[in-house]
């Protein structure tokens, strides 16, 4: 009985402490000043709030950023939160009272957030990182994360999405076609991305169609039905996918350049990637400031700080993903790191697109109709 009482009391205490912590998190930490929109902030004349809450899926880079930025600006209270799916923060923004100052986003989630006014327009002309972006990235941000002439997100990482990743022990030269995924010689050694739009877009490229506006959906379904049984498995989680290659459960399949990098350089597996002749896609992971964030001044300063090339380059050191700068500029950006030996020529060469760049197209987010059509096709193929 005594044990029961103690345990009940402990449970109540824990619950109360948890509730208080949750309430504190929900209430945010602004210092009583009025909300100001980031677009109206003059970065040369702004005092940050004493708190910052950063959400980003690049865990190590996020922690590094919060720590360094807080130290530089004397911010005493900071928190960083990770997530495996953008749906986690998106549902918070939908619900309101989200207590997020700075969030990492991507693709459709960025487009939807801009459409629904979940993100604030940014004073990009004041950002050093914006000036450093090559023209094609500035244009891309205007097209994809822009509305009424304003830009709502800053690029974080420039990704090949997906790569055709392969095991060098099984391929003497990089496969030159997505057709390798249909090659029965590799039956049982192939994996496919279990997110409808990617297998469908790969099938579109394989059948020489526009992956953003295919004209023969039946053909896409037909070739995917031919392909599905050649797979060892389907993947939907990046670490799982990397493990498939590292453990040699599969030898070829779609992946990301960042995960391929981690497999090659951290797990030391003979894994590499290519972009086939039919073409491939690249995508941006970006960062944004949610509307009604609790600390808009600190969030805007953080956005300026983290997107400066000298800071953004640490996404590579901390998380193994390439920063969103022109990959031809890597050598110059990482010159000091090369001297210090914290990065190698081989690593820089790994991310440089080189002649593969001509095969790449920006993975513009798909509209609802095509997204749902692809979902229907992929569901039927899996069945």
């Amino acid at each position: 009985m005594v044990e029961e009482n103690i345990s009940r009391r402990t449970v109540l205490k824990t619950t109360a402490a948890g509730g208080a912590a949750a309430a504190a998190g929900c209430l945010g930490g602004d210092d009583g000043r009025e909300y100001v929109r980031p677009i109206d902030i003059d970065l040369d004349d702004v005092e940050p709030e004493n708190e910052i809450n950063m959400w980003n899926w690049f865990y190590d880079f996020r922690d590094w950023t919060v720590e360094e930025f807080s130290a530089e600006y004397g911010i005493e209270s900071s928190s960083s939160t990770g997530y495996s799916s953008a749906a986690e923060w998106y549902s918070r923004l939908e619900a309101g009272n989200h207590a997020i100052d700075h969030v990492g986003s991507t693709g459709n989630y960025t487009v939807r957030s801009v459409e629904n006014d979940f993100f604030e327009p940014l004073p990009v002309d004041q950002f050093e990182g914006w000036e450093a972006l090559p023209d094609f990235l500035q244009d891309t941000m205007h097209d994809y994360a822009g509305k009424d002439g304003e830009v709502y997100a800053m690029p974080q990482s420039l990704l090949l999405y997906p790569t055709l990743t392969y095991n060098e022990d099984h391929f003497s030269s990089p496969p030159d076609s997505w057709g390798v995924l249909w090659d029965e010689e590799y039956a049982g050694d192939i994996c496919m991305w279990d997110e409808a739009q990617y297998p469908c877009q790969i099938a579109a490229l394989y059948t020489d169609q526009d992956p953003f506006d295919p004209d023969d959906l039946d053909e896409i379904q037909e070739v995917l039905e031919q392909q599905i049984d050649l797979n060892e498995t389907l993947w939907d989680e990046y670490n799982h996918a990397r493990g498939l290659f590292v453990n040699e459960d599969v030898v070829v399949g779609p992946l990301l350049d960042g995960q391929t990098y981690l497999a090659r350089f951290e797990d030391e597996a003979p894994i590499n990637y290519t972009i086939p002749e039919e073409g491939g896609l690249y995508q941006l992971d970006d960062m944004a400031i949610p509307t009604d964030c609790p600390n808009p001044r600190a969030a805007t300063l953080l956005m300026d700080w983290v997107t400066q090339p000298d800071n953004l380059k640490n996404i590579f050191h901390e998380s193994g993903y390439p920063p969103a700068i022109d990959h031809d500029d890597f050598e110059e950006l990482y010159a000091e790191d090369l001297e210090e030996g914290t990065i190698t020529e081989e690593e820089i060469e790994f991310f440089r697109w080189g002649e593969l760049e001509d095969r790449l197209m920006f993975a513009e987010p798909l509209g609802d109709d095509l997204l749902q059509t692809y979902d229907q096709i992929w569901t039927e193929v899996k069945n």
Partner: protein, 306 residues
């Protein structure tokens, strides 16, 4: 506050308490209302309301405000692919539940009947709950993969000549489900078997029944309610699972939970996802009703039927 005043305060509190007691005694309906209202409110706000909103969303063309439609349900019942996935989900759920119940019952029975260190064994049974679900699934990837722990062990003892590579198969999904939900089966079985009156078993033996007949005619019927609770606790979450088949399954283990997740995070078709979820909820309720019609009383773990 002086200690001399404390008895006076205590007396006032006691008077007030007695006054409330007699007040409520004279108003039995108010008393019942005060007892029932808080939990009813919690159930309404946190369970019923979200379900109603989900049903509302499932009847819209898109995110609200949007025109009403039955299209989402029509799509579900007219397209073979979704009916087929629902059927496959039902089959996998039935297989995993039956196996989990059989293994769980055997463990609980041996704990109650033959083991002295039941607390230790119970602790071992619930210990996996201390680790995150996804981490446990990744552990199984290491065990079941080609040349993984299982293959290495079987090769070592000479049970197999070449690696089995169980991972990414139907069997791997079943193993994952059994492992994850076994504790949820063992605990109600253990509680049910613990309540069983030993005298009834002794009486059966005295009357000439052997161990098997005693088990089938006394132990099993007397623990029927516990078994039904275990079936429900295991079957319902398996029906909605998506992580286990995603990580351990091959290309033909798509379950309805995976389709629902896709609608919310990839296809952005929340209305159709809501329709699928409501359908799954109906199937689960139907399972509960069938269970009750089969004679299960989920609220009584005791060994004796009323």
């Amino acid at each position: 506050m002086s200690s001399a005043r404390l008895p006076g305060i205590r007396a006032n509190v006691a008077d007030g308490f007695e006054h409330w007691q007699s007040f409520l005694r004279e108003r039995p309906r108010l008393k019942i209302f005060l007892i029932v209202f808080p939990p009813a409110l919690v159930l309404a706000v946190f369970f019923l309301l979200p379900l109603v909103f989900m049903a509302y969303l499932s009847l819209l063309e898109g995110m609200p405000p949007a025109p009403a439609t039955f299209e989402n349900y029509m799509r579900l019942v007219t397209q073979e692919v979704y009916l087929s996935i629902l059927w496959r989900t039902t089959v996998i759920t039935a297989q995993a539940t039956i196996l989990t119940v059989l293994i769980g019952y055997a463990i609980a029975y041996s704990m109650v009947r033959f083991s002295r260190r039941t607390t230790m064994i119970l602790l071992l049974v619930i210990m996996p709950f201390w680790t995150n679900y996804i981490i446990r699934m990744y552990a199984w990837i290491n065990i079941l993969q080609t040349n993984g722990v299982l293959d290495a062990a079987l090769l070592f003892v000479g049970a197999i000549n070449e690696p089995l590579g169980v991972l990414y198969s139907h069997e791997a999904v079943l193993i994952g489900f059994i492992y994850i939900y076994l504790p949820l089966a063992v605990l109600p079985f253990y509680a049910s078997l613990s309540y069983l009156d030993q005298d009834l078993i002794d009486a059966s033996m005295d009357l000439g029944a052997g161990p098997i007949k005693t088990f089938l005619s006394v132990t099993l019927p007397m623990t029927k309610n516990g078994i039904m609770v275990g079936v429900i606790l295991v079957g319902i979450p398996i029906f909605g699972s998506f992580i286990t088949p995603q990580l351990l399954g091959g290309t033909d283990n798509t379950m309805v939970g995976m389709i629902i997740e896709n609608q919310f995070v990839e296809a952005f078709n929340w209305s159709f996802g809501a329709a699928l979820s409501i359908t799954v909820a109906f199937i689960v309720v139907a399972m509960l009703v069938l269970g009750m019609l089969a004679g299960g009383n989920f609220f009584d773990l005791g060994g004796e039927d009323e």
